[in-house]
């Protein structure tokens, strides 16, 4: 037997499909932190992440018989995770919309103006850390299709081909989404701080 730890994801899955339950445990363990972090960056709720993570691997378990072992496991499992997170975000968005509808009447009470004040901290009050935090916040607020592409590229260190496989889109679309995402972040930063974002490199 190949030494434990040196098995590929696909080998672990194949081994599990033949009854070696502990290899599945190793596979889950291997993805625990990176996949859970990815889910967290999408849904921003620790409890939801735990549920989604379980659903992802339950889905893997159920699909054992249909998995094409000539394909790579990583894009497949991230595709499942992305779809489940997307459903969760939609569900939350629609729930939030309902709540906001209910809050519409509060506008007259000044609720929105308080929120707006919080967001408009004077630029000169913001140091380097705040500027970096702002970038992370902008990434968080990107449209879902741009955000998933950027997260998969940057945090999951996927290549264009793997992202294309995960999101079922052509490689050209991956490139343009990534470019658009980075450009949008740069624009937002420059708009906010009135200086080009590459100056951050000089400062840090």
């Amino acid at each position: 037997m190949t030494e434990r730890g040196s098995k590929t994801d696909e080998q672990l899955l194949a081994s599990y499909s033949k009854g070696r339950a502990n290899d599945f445990r190793e596979l889950v363990e291997r993805y625990r932190q990176p996949l859970a972090s990815y889910l967290y960056r999408l849904v921003r709720d620790g409890h939801a992440v735990e549920d989604l993570f379980q659903e992802v691997f339950l889905s893997v378990h159920r699909s054992l018989n249909t998995f094409d072992f000539s394909k790579r496991f990583k894009p497949w499992v991230y595709a499942i995770a992305t779809n489940l997170a997307r459903d969760e975000m939609r569900r939350r968005k629609s729930a939030a919309a309902t709540v906001l509808d209910g809050l519409a009447d509060c506008e007259e009470n000044g609720l929105y103006s308080i929120v707006a004040d919080d967001l408009s901290t004077p630029d000169d009050m913001m140091g380097l850390d705040e500027q970096k935090m702002f970038i992370r916040q902008i990434v968080d607020e990107l449209p879902e299709h741009l955000k998933t592409t950027l997260l998969l590229y940057h945090y999951q260190e996927m290549k264009y081909r793997e992202i294309a496989e995960t999101l079922s889109i052509p490689i050209g679309t991956v490139k343009s989404r990534l470019h658009t995402a980075l450009t949008q972040v740069a624009h937002s930063f420059e708009k906010k701080f009135n200086k080009p974002i590459h100056q951050l490199r000089v400062l840090s």
Binding site: G19, Q33, Q54, K132, V139, K175, H187, H198, R201
Partner: protein, 291 residues
């Protein structure tokens, strides 16, 4: 976000610049081919706007890289996954088998609490090591003892097949180590039986009923209608062949052969002759691995 804001590197650029910039992430990571890389390098030397755009991209990615994992996945998450799978397996009880649905499912639903068992095992491991075989035998003996009082006849009326019983037993055996993290699959059987033994011992009456249901071949009049492979710890810890028979019909149960549950959870009906060949081969394997 796409307003008309301008910046020093946002000079008008042509299609060349646009397609170059789409390749910057791969260029930064060194994932482009030699010719593409050379093409971009050449362009960067000539186009100040693209050089700044590249720096901007790098600033963003470097900033993101400095952020730590904002979420630390708890170690218990792995166990939760397996508990989830186990529950899912348990829900897959044949609908035609009400006895299993009512009793076994409820019992299986208790399995996700093996934290109790897992705590128990390290404390009593030495004791368990020396007495496990006796526990298993004792458990089987208890089933025999309690059978007349625990609805054996009712279980037979439910009409589930022998192969179904063994298959479900296999599911339990397979599911259990997912929770315990047992490395050697041969410990599955011990895990399940030990768990059930302790359940009964703790006074959870259904612990006796459920395994008694599973341990009953409808084709048999015997109180204990299956035999199981009871292995010593030395054997359990030996490298074993992949497909090992672990539970099988007693010879009297069926006319033409026996149902056999294998370690991988599959059930096969073998003629008496094939079964004996298998058992001999398996036992030779055991001897070989012991040497």
């Amino acid at each position: 976000m796409n307003g008309n804001h301008s910046s020093q590197h946002e000079a008008p650029f042509g299609n060349d610049c646009e397609s170059m910039r789409e390749d910057f992430p791969a260029y930064t990571r060194g994932e482009l081919g030699e010719s593409d890389e050379a093409r971009i390098r050449l362009h960067l030397g000539e186009c100040a706007a693209c050089a700044l755009a590249l720096q901007s991209q790098q600033s963003i990615l470097e900033t993101l890289a400095t952020s730590q994992d904002e979420y630390v996945a708890p170690a218990s998450l792995t166990d939760k996954v397996f508990a989830h799978i186990l529950l899912d397996n348990a829900a897959d009880v044949p609908a035609s088998n009400p006895a299993l649905t009512d009793r076994t499912l409820q019992a299986v639903l208790r399995l996700p609490m093996p934290a109790k068992l897992r705590e128990m095992i390290p404390l009593h491991w030495q004791l368990l090591r020396s007495t496990l075989a006796a526990c298993i035998l004792g458990t089987i003996a208890m089933y025999a003892l309690f059978t007349p009082y625990l609805g054996y006849a009712e279980a037979k009326r439910d009409g589930h097949s022998c192969a179904e019983n063994l298959e479900y037993m296999g599911k339990l055996i397979q599911s259990y180590p997912l929770l315990t993290g047992a490395d050697n699959p041969l410990q599955h059987l011990e895990g399940v039986l030990t768990h059930m033994y302790f359940n009964e011992y703790d006074g959870v009456a259904s612990g006796v009923i459920k395994l008694q249901d599973l341990c009953s071949c409808p084709g048999s009049n015997l109180a204990v209608s299956y035999s199981s492979q009871i292995l010593s710890f030395d054997q359990v810890n030996s490298p074993m062949p992949g497909s090992v028979p672990i539970v099988w019909d007693r010879r009297e149960n069926h006319k033409n052969g026996r149902n056999v549950l294998f370690l991988d959870g599959t059930v096969d009906f073998l003629t008496e002759e094939d079964f004996l060949i298998l058992l001999r081969r398996y036992k030779r394997g055991l001897l070989a691995s012991a040497n």
